[in-house]
């Protein structure tokens, strides 16, 4: 793996592990959803995104944010309610905004919104796209279909990045979804791409994405990318009712368990140390002010 990609995978991993650790120590107020096991999705996708693309993230959005902004301190400050927080401590884990990157905690709600930004981009900033991350379970929400229909009708540059981890909170996909994601895209005449993001590598998925994403930018209409991925951790803090053998299997298949060697160890130690330093830094900060961090607030689109 390209060392920068591996670094980012490890940054996200250690960030999420540190967070669970802080939780266990009672240092986090509220809730959070870690993306352990799913790191490859945003790491594969983010380099294909333009800084002025819109990105709509969701409850499980730390990886999305880190892969795009490499800002663990701002994110941790947000989650812990400390100074320098991305959203000033107001939003918390599920409500991050930095320019055109924005997450919300209500499932499905952001798909029509993303389509609205895509309508703007198609008309006023051609070549840019709106990317919306969505879990498999969120396909239960009607808003998803209202958005897909309009995006397809109007050939909008909308990239729907489905993180299909086979589960929604405690519900296996099969118990909540009839048919398939592919079929649901087809229903609206929307292109669908299946990408395996379960392995440790990100270049294969990224290569598979490059052409199709470029076509979205060039006006081919929306694209649903279904990433096969795995949720290696709990839904939120510690709630995971999956049977022990399934959890064992998930852990064994987890990308982190499948990598080793001196280069890996070096980068692993590096990112672990980086996150530890961020934790030390942020936990020593004064409380968040309620105002977004200065560098977040100053964001301007590159050109409009």
């Amino acid at each position: 793996m390209n060392p920068d990609d591996l670094r980012m995978m490890l940054l996200i991993r250690h960030f999420e592990l540190a967070l669970l650790d802080l939780f266990a120590r009672g240092e986090v107020h509220g809730t959070t959803h870690t993306c352990l096991g799913q790191e490859a999705v945003p790491v594969a996708l983010s380099p294909l995104l333009d800084p002025d693309d819109f990105v709509f993230s969701n409850h499980r959005g730390h990886g999305h944010y880190l892969a795009r902004f490499d800002d663990p301190a701002g994110l941790l400050a947000e989650i812990l309610g400390r100074d320098g927080a991305v959203s000033g401590g107001v939003g918390g884990s599920q409500h991050l905004r930095r320019g055109r990157h924005l997450s919300t905690g209500v499932q499905g709600e952001s798909l029509p919104v993303a389509a609205g930004t895509a309508l703007h981009l198609a008309r006023s900033e051609p070549g840019r796209l709106a990317c919306v991350y969505v879990g498999d379970g969120t396909w239960g929400e009607g808003a998803v279909y209202e958005a897909l229909n309009m995006a397809a009708l109007w050939r909008l540059p909308l990239l729907v990045a489905v993180e299909h981890n086979g589960i929604a909170q405690s519900t296996p996909t099969g118990a909540a979804m009839a048919g398939t994601i592919a079929g649901r895209a087809a229903a609206f005449g929307v292109e669908h791409l299946h990408v395996d993001a379960t392995g440790p590598g990100v270049s294969v998925p990224r290569d598979a994405l490059t052409g199709p994403v470029e076509r979205v930018r060039r006006g081919a209409g929306p694209l649903v990318v279904e990433f096969a991925t795995r949720r290696a951790g709990p839904h939120s803090k510690g709630d995971d009712p999956r049977p022990a053998d399934e959890l064992d299997r998930l852990r064994a298949e987890d990308w982190y368990a499948r990598l080793d060697g001196p280069e890996f160890d070096r980068l692993d130690a590096e990112q672990r140390a980086r996150v530890a330093a961020v934790v030390r830094d942020v936990t020593a900060r004064p409380p968040a002010t309620g105002r977004a961090a200065a560098e977040v607030e100053q964001w301007q689109p590159v050109s409009v």
């Binding site: 819109f54 939003g91 029509p112 919104v113 389509a115 609205g116 703007h120 958005a147 309009m150």
Partner: protein
Amino acid sequence: MAARQRVAEHLNAALGAALAADDRLYLLGQDITDPYGGAFKITRGLSTRFPRQVVATPISEAGLVGIANGLALAGNRAIVEMMFADFVTLAFDQIVNFAAKSVSMYGQRLPMPVVVRCPTGGRRGYGPTHSQSLQKHFLGVPDLDVYEISPFHDCADLFTGVLGRGVPALVFEDKVLYTGLRRPPGTADDLFRYDLVGPWPGTAVVRIAGIDPPDCVLITPGGVAERALVAMRELLISREITCELYVPARLDRTALEPILPAAARAGQVVIVEDGTAGGTWAADLAHQLHTALWGQLRGPVRVVSAADGVVPAAAHLEEEVLVQAGTISATVQRGHR
């Protein structure tokens, strides 16, 4: 402004002016493009004049408010037409949990200039799911404004102001008002004149010059104003009871200051609203007046609402449920000694 302009035409002109003034303003809704021009014809001609800005959508209320939210996030403005206010229930999440929240929940002030127009109220025989007055359900949400048009307020000014605030808003429009006439500036009718007072978007004060204090202060949103005028005329002519009518265009955070002096002098206040009682604009305002005018009123503020039931389709049944001019004058009379 045309001398005798219907409110529908006035709204149409106001939307046209807004679209002309800002090419980043979008108008979204179902069946709003020409030749149909919307279920109530409010948008007639606009898609022909502004083809890029007027977007007809599928029947997806949540989705189309979401589109508007996205347009706003990207630096545009959007006015959305609900075909009937009743369907805004389908967009409650997009309005309350996305549009309103986004203004502040990211630790920065984020402008979300999205206006949802809601044709509201009964008296057209459309039946229980097409006749509701749902204003109250949207009150008291941080960073969500609620307005109601009236025959007195200038809708061009209203839309400009609402969009300029950068806060998402609902604008309720009484469906019966559409076919009624706008009142020319200053003149409510042959008997009453009116002024717009107080902070933007202004409260219309309808009265007969020279009568002060009035026997009673009436407060109503725009949709009830016509019925209140009928009641005032009847009270004056048949009973020699004088009323002063206050019609605020803003329902959330209704400005009290323009109302307080006359209310204190009259000592009697009746607030009238469409829709059923319970958690309403009128009750909230009554509570505020009781507080602000403590010791100055001759009796409790009285609230008139619709009967506690659905709005029936049949005209004679509908009439029993909804507030009529007669309900208003009877209420005023009961408080008069």
